[in-house]
């Protein structure tokens, strides 16, 4: 999956909850930690990234709502992937 497309899809879903700036900086920070540096990311890397983001969202939204936001992000990523 193209990393920039994946990032944009995730930001679009998460931004209403934690803001565009925080969503982008959190994703960038996690990408660095997970070694997602190139133009593409593997399915495993994207899943690991979603897991990390879900853990962070827990603090603001609680486990259940964070899980539903991450599920929504996963759906958005599938749509992006399907449209290519």
């Amino acid at each position: 999956m193209i990393t920039t497309e994946a990032v944009e899809a995730m930001v679009k879903v998460i931004a209403p909850y934690i803001g565009d700036v925080m969503a982008r900086s959190a994703i960038e920070a996690h990408c660095q930690k997970l070694g997602i540096v190139g133009g593409t990311a593997t399915h495993e890397q994207v899943e690991a990234l979603l897991g990390k983001l879900g853990g962070g969202l827990n603090v603001f939204l609680g486990r259940d709502k964070a899980a539903s936001v991450i599920a929504e992000a996963r759906g958005a990523l599938a749509t992006v992937e399907g449209s290519r």
């Binding site: 931004a15 209403p16 909850y17 934690i18 803001g19 565009d20 700036v21 925080m22 900086s25 959190a26 920070a29 996690h30 930690k33 990390k52 853990g55 962070g56 827990n58 603090v59 603001f60 939204l61 609680g62 486990r63 259940d64 709502k65 539903s68």
Partner: protein, 271 residues
């Protein structure tokens, strides 16, 4: 839809009117409205009721936030500590209420100060727990050097602002306990401001979002709490009690904003 939006705006309209009423009282206490209808005793009663309602609501909503967060969630402890701090403030306010309602006096120092003082370590601990939670979950809260810079900067500015305000407070010839308490509140507020400044940095990154709204309200409320304490210390020590309406306005606004933030967080936690 419009009705529901209007209903949501109602508490903010009430808060705005209440604050305007106290600012108006400070600005023109001799006007007919305040001389005949809204007498000082009525205004004191209204302030006591507003503060109690906002504090109780804030404590209850903060506790419900703790309840809605699952065990093991790092923010759960923070909301619990916040609810305890708000409850302590509520109990302090409640212990003053009979004297304010019946005898039209607000004694200082009083048993209420025990509860007010107790609330500070709870608030400070709540903010530190939240900062730790944000850091552990990978949200960027700034490098260690950046955080030290913010804390040092806020500490220095706060000290520069506080020193000339607290100077006259220390040198007044009021009883020792009164002087200690009058100085203790602003100092505790300055300590509270340090984690608040770090959280404000996080809140700025949350702007435009649901979580950003929560933190804008909460942090705004605590900033007004600090301002109220400093104003109270200054007016009390200088015998400027005629400026008390400003202090009431600041506290009412503070508690109202904190209650609003806790309520917004509770809504955010609903599935």
């Amino acid at each position: 839809m419009r009705g529901s939006r209007g209903l949501r705006a109602l508490p903010w309209v009430v808060l705005g009117l209440a604050v305007a009423l106290y600012v108006g009282w400070a600005a023109s206490s001799s006007s007919g409205l305040y001389a005949r209808a809204l007498t000082p005793h009525r205004m004191l009663v209204l302030a006591a009721v507003l503060k109690l309602v906002y504090l109780l609501a804030a404590a209850a909503w903060a506790f419900q936030c703790r309840d809605r967060l699952e065990a093991g969630n790092p923010a759960r402890l923070a909301w619990f500590l916040l609810s305890l701090g708000l409850l302590a403030t509520f109990v302090g306010q409640l212990s003053l209420a009979p004297l304010q309602l019946v005898r039209n006096v607000t004694p200082f120092p009083s048993v209420a100060d025990i509860y007010y003082l107790l609330s500070y370590p709870l608030f400070i601990a709540a903010f530190l727990v939240l900062l730790k939670a944000y850091r552990e979950t990978g949200f960027p809260i700034g490098s260690a050097a950046e955080r030290v810079g913010i804390v040092t900067g806020v500490g220095v500015v706060a000290a520069i602002v506080a020193a000339p305000i607290l100077g006259p407070v220390v040198t007044t010839d009021t009883p020792l306990l009164e002087r200690i308490l009058t100085v203790a509140y602003p100092i505790l507020d300055l300590v509270l401001l340090l984690p608040l400044a770090l959280l404000l940095r996080v809140a700025l990154r949350l702007r435009g979002s649901h979580a950003g709204e929560v933190w804008l309200l909460l942090l705004g409320g605590f900033v007004f709490l600090c301002a109220g304490d400093i104003a109270f210390a200054y007016f009390q020590s200088l015998g400027q009690q005629h400026l008390d309406p400003f202090v009431h306005a600041t506290y009412v606004l503070s508690y109202g904003l904190i209650a609003g933030g806790a309520h917004r967080q509770l809504e955010l936690l609903k599935p």
